[in-house]
Symmetry: C2
């Protein structure tokens, strides 16, 4: 394994750029996975790596895992110093394992939205942790796809970390147009619900999720704009016992997805 010692090395500089800003991720069409588990998850799902950076000693005890990453990168695996690894890292204490990948192929709305599927639409969600947690939960409960309209970027290191590898398993589409998505739902006979805080809306537990269905979740602070909610077929609400706004967006989405797929 070749050793990279210089911060000026092009691979290091690329990795740093990709970790630092959406602009570079978009420009290069690449993003970075950090941590053994995420990298191995991606390798397990067949995601090809551009190259892998491993801190000295990080894999000494895990030669098998090193082999997997070496294979997924076509041999483009480099050793870096622990200092350099910490400098790259987005976290307080890094495992020192980074994989640079091409952004996933953008899926097509028409083929992603299937009859009888269960979909979650994120309308202007801004917190990377929330978006990641929602994707992770969608994976757990078996949601058909996550559609993001104007929400934060999925390749943000915080989002990636919160998905815990689920972004390789759950189909998602970024930068969707809400109207286009809702039109496609109509065509496929999928009932769309706007998740709102409104006592007059249908209670989540009274919604019929037996067929194709979709729920649109609004922004963390402002919720779903009336205009967007009005474009959906119905409105649903989580009836609270306690304080009316006592669920964060990820938790609300999680409970809604749980109900959508609950048997």
């Amino acid at each position: 394994m070749n050793f990279i010692s210089s911060r000026e090395n092009p691979n290091i500089k690329l990795c740093q750029k990709l970790l630092s800003s959406k602009k570079y991720r978009k420009e290069y069409g690449m993003f970075v996975l950090e941590g053994a588990r995420l990298c191995l998850d991606a390798a397990g799902e067949g995601v090809p790596f551009e190259f892998v950076l491993v801190s000295s000693g990080a894999f000494e005890k895990n030669p098998d895992e090193l082999k997997i990453l070496e294979k997924s990168s076509g041999g483009r695996i480099f050793e870096i110093s622990p200092d350099l690894a910490q400098k790259l890292s987005d976290t307080g204490s890094t495992q020192g394992i980074f994989a640079v990948c091409k952004t996933l192929d953008k899926k097509d709305i028409t083929s992603t939205i299937c009859n009888n599927g269960k979909f979650i639409v994120l309308d202007n969600l801004q917190d990377p942790g929330n978006v990641g947690t929602i994707i992770r939960t969608a994976d757990a409960v078996g949601i058909s796809a996550v559609l993001l309209c104007g929400s934060c970027e999925i390749y943000n290191p915080k989002t990636i970390r919160s998905t815990m590898g689920s972004l390789f398993r759950v189909p998602f589409i970024e930068n969707c147009d809400l109207r286009e998505v809702l039109d496609e739902f109509k065509k496929k006979g999928i009932i769309s619900y706007a998740a709102v805080v409104d006592f007059d809306a249908v209670s989540l537990t009274e919604c019929d999720f037996s067929g194709g269905c979709a729920v649109v979740i609004g922004n963390e602070g402002r919720g779903l704009p009336d205009e967007d909610a009005g474009m959906c077929d119905k409105k649903l609400t989580i009836k609270m016992k306690g304080s009316i706004d006592s669920l964060n967006a990820a938790m609300a989405a999680g409970i809604i997805m749980w109900e959508m797929t609950r048997k």
Copy 2:
């Protein structure tokens, strides 16, 4: 309103200490609320403030809110410079509103655990955001009390922020002994469940939560130790469609609490 300009002012130094470490929060028996919403929530719930710090201009447009905080602090409200506010703050961009409070009265296990109540027990949860989110969700769905066994401190600024004021509404007890809690459940006829990842455990949707019940949630990484799970009456699991560990601890707890209180 008196103006504090010096970083050496005793109130500023106290606030800084309380924000910086659990040690000081324990020593002084106080903690800090940051942000208009949290402070107003606390005031609304009758929490008395030791004193309040407000950044110059922060409340210029909200004289009514200022009056509420002034009242809750018995007039001990001080203006500080925006610079000083940012220095104190735990967040990237502060609203510049801080209330220093006494830690809430520690509740008693015997009187907190009531017959027919619904309880959530956090066994060694370590992430402040998770603990805060669980308390917030417990408030929303109407859980009777949250019992923390060896979990992270509730007065951590990150935990407080994630609770969004729910810590003033949901009864909670820190530093519980799990065995003592489970003994009390037994005495009160409350069925205790260990939340585990185990296909042989009872599926969450098949549990009978109609009477008094309690669920013990384990640590984010390691889950619930066998020994602790074995002390509970039953084991429950969230049957996943996707990857087996695709729910974070807060989301798993949220979905479990939703089911415990679902009508």
